[in-house]
């Protein structure tokens, strides 16, 4: 893996990525994600959603942006102004930096870092600090409370998220996202294997919790703690948090697609031919177009799933949330590392991917994964039965019954 030369071509490529990708395309995608969410949520609730501003309400994000900019910038008198300003910048920076390593196609990656996945996890772990600073600097009891709860939640779900990426790294043998994307051409998408499926589910759930989406959106629960850590943020400062959240949703969907669904490849187990029309630039452009289209389709699917979950599920209670992370997801993720090792020994180490290998690996690890999931739930239930105080579901008989 060579590190690049700093010549004119590299600077040009980077300038294009910055000016076109990060300044125009990603914020555009994020703005229209907001519109899409409102439309989708509206359809789920049997209404229409924004349809006044422009055809189908398509100019709604622009109207929202203009509204936010023209709002008065109110900061509480006793707030710490510097930190109050710094917090949304930190969260937004963390969201942007995540997108820098995602391979959208062959050669369509802003930078290909040799330790890309660790970089990604490191950068996305900066946002809890930003959220804590937002809550602290507002000098508001509710903000601080919301911020501490938010940080506790984010930090608890980061462990299963990181542990869920370990099987992927194990099978790909590299931390670079481009190599992970390449390896899935040889060994099929990582989701089509029992440990991979468990890791995918864990990563998705932990990812939804990491971006504070329903059902894990207790930090921003409007009905419970006013607005949590961004109570004292008005106008465009709130707009920055909003932008950062939706950018993170996009980022998590992109990363899930690359790690588990093989990026933009349309068919799971076949190698996508890069030289479809010969080795020319036109062929590469065509291939990249197809890969990019399929990639965006998959990302759109995950985003739609997140919107769907938001429209459907209620918010989780905070102790159930934390219990789910530490008592269900973390043990399952740790066991999943073993199962991933077993899958590796059975399927990847013998060499190429053959149907017999895959079937054998699936059967063995499938049984193990199902047993692990069942045992985890059973263990939790048994522990709660012996010590009812630990329950996060009603397990103690109500007082009226025992008084009778």
């Amino acid at each position: 893996m060579q590190l690049v030369e700093l010549n004119f071509q590299t600077w040009l490529r980077w300038a294009l990525w910055l000016v076109v990708g990060f300044a125009v395309v990603f914020p555009g995608i994020v703005a229209y994600m907001v519109w899409l969410e409102r439309k989708v949520a509206a359809r789920f609730q049997d209404r229409i959603g924004p349809n006044r501003v422009g055809p189908l309400g398509l100019l709604q994000p622009i109207a929202d942006a203009i509204k936010l900019i023209t709002k008065e910038n109110i900061v509480p008198r006793s707030a710490d102004r510097v930190v109050h300003l710094l917090a949304p910048i930190l969260v937004l920076t963390s969201a942007f930096l995540v997108m820098a390593v995602v391979p959208f196609g062959v050669g369509l990656v802003p930078v290909d870092l040799p330790s890309g996945l660790v970089y990604l996890i490191a950068v996305s772990s900066m946002s809890p600090l930003g959220i804590f600073l937002a809550g602290w600097s507002s000098r508001n009891k509710y903000s601080l409370l919301g911020a501490m709860r938010a940080v506790a939640q984010l930090v608890s779900y980061e462990v299963p998220q990181i542990l869920a990426t370990i099987p992927v790294v194990l099978w790909a043998g590299s931390l670079s996202l481009v190599t992970i994307f390449d390896r899935q051409l040889e060994f099929g998408w990582y989701v089509f294997s029992p440990p991979g499926l468990l890791a995918f589910a864990t990563f998705l759930i932990a990812g939804v919790a990491e971006v504070n989406r329903t059902p894990f959106d207790l930090p921003e629960a409007e009905s419970e703690i006013i607005a949590g850590y961004h109570t004292e943020y008005t106008g465009m400062r709130f707009g920055l948090f909003f932008l950062a959240e939706y950018l993170s949703v996009f980022g998590i969907s992109c990363v899930t697609t690359v790690l588990f669904l093989g990026g933009g490849t349309p068919i799971p187990f076949l190698e996508f031919p890069v030289d479809l029309l010969g080795g020319s630039t036109a062929s590469l452009a065509l291939v990249n177009l197809i890969l990019l289209a399929v990639f965006l389709l998959k990302v759109l699917f995950f985003i739609f799933v997140m919107f769907w979950i938001r429209a459907t599920l209620p918010r989780m209670r905070v102790d159930r949330l934390m219990n789910f992370a530490w008592k269900y997801l973390v043990p399952l993720s740790i066991l999943n590392v073993f199962f991933a090792g077993i899958w590796y020994e059975m399927v990847i180490r013998p060499g190429g991917l053959t149907f017999a290998n895959w079937l054998r690996g699936t059967l063995v690890t499938g049984v193990l994964v199902v047993a692990a999931v069942y045992l985890t739930f059973l263990l939790n239930r048994k522990l709660v039965e012996s010590k009812p105080i630990d329950a996060d579901w009603p397990s103690v008989a109500p007082a009226t019954e025992s008084a009778r």
Binding site: M1, Q2, V118, A122, S125, W136, L144, S174
Partner: protein, 225 residues
């Protein structure tokens, strides 16, 4: 170009370190420390150790800084203002002690002794390139070093599993011991819920003495009509 970059990053690091020590507000001092951790991560990148830079950000900024902030919240009031004052009589001896440490470090690092057969680090003037150049022949260790720099995670993993296995397992044991110790010290098994304090008690102990509970309800004492 690299030396200019290094000077800039080192200056930023120095400034943030000074900010940490001199700041009166603890949370701001913590923030300066976070900026210092980030400067260290940039220095790791300059030293071609990008895996370590990512680990530095992940562990220090992602975990230790948050732990630090929670610790400040736990032990001080949430404003983070430092309520301790440095006694004036300690400042001069403190400065003198700091200068002594600095002198020892500067002299020690600049006149470093190397293992026999190696040149001391201060004798090296350049690092071998990590981009393969076909022109001139290179000793084997340069190729090995290039591979290590370009794929640091794998090389560290191999070393951890083969040469440093005992250290690795001991690190795991140390982590578990730290976890058990922290839980044993910090967690008090209070199973019986405390009896709720009446409103009169809360009003009697003055403002600010009964902070809002978990549910976020403000004390209603002064709201009575």
């Amino acid at each position: 170009m690299a030396s200019i970059l290094f000077l800039v990053i080192a200056a930023i690091g120095l400034a943030t370190a000074l900010g940490t020590v001199l700041s009166r507000n603890l949370v701001r001092a913590g923030l300066y420390l976070v900026a210092f951790f980030f400067a260290i991560a940039c220095l790791f990148v300059l030293l071609e150790a990008e895996f370590l830079a990512a680990i530095q950000v992940l562990v220090y900024i992602g975990a230790v800084a948050i732990l630090l902030m929670f610790g400040i919240m736990l032990t001080r009031d949430t404003l983070g203002d430092d309520t301790t004052a440095i006694p004036v009589g300690w400042m001069i001896p403190g400065l003198f002690g700091g200068l002594c440490v600095f002198t020892v470090l500067a002299v020690g690092i600049n006149n470093s002794i190397a293992p026999s057969g190696w040149t001391p680090w201060s004798g090296t003037t350049s690092r071998p390139s990590i981009i393969k150049q076909e022109s001139d022949p290179e000793p084997a260790w340069v190729a090995e070093r290039r591979e290590a720099v370009n794929d640091m995670g794998r090389v560290i993993g191999v070393e951890l599993m083969t040469r440093y296995v005992v250290a690795f397992e001991l690190a795991g044991l140390l982590l578990t011991a730290a976890l058990v110790g922290a839980i044993a010290l910090a967690h008090r098994a209070d199973s019986a819920p405390k009896p709720p304090r009446s409103v009169e008690q809360a009003a009697g102990s003055g403002p600010g003495a009964d902070p809002p509970s978990e549910a976020g309800e403000p004390v209603a004492s002064s709201l009575s009509p």
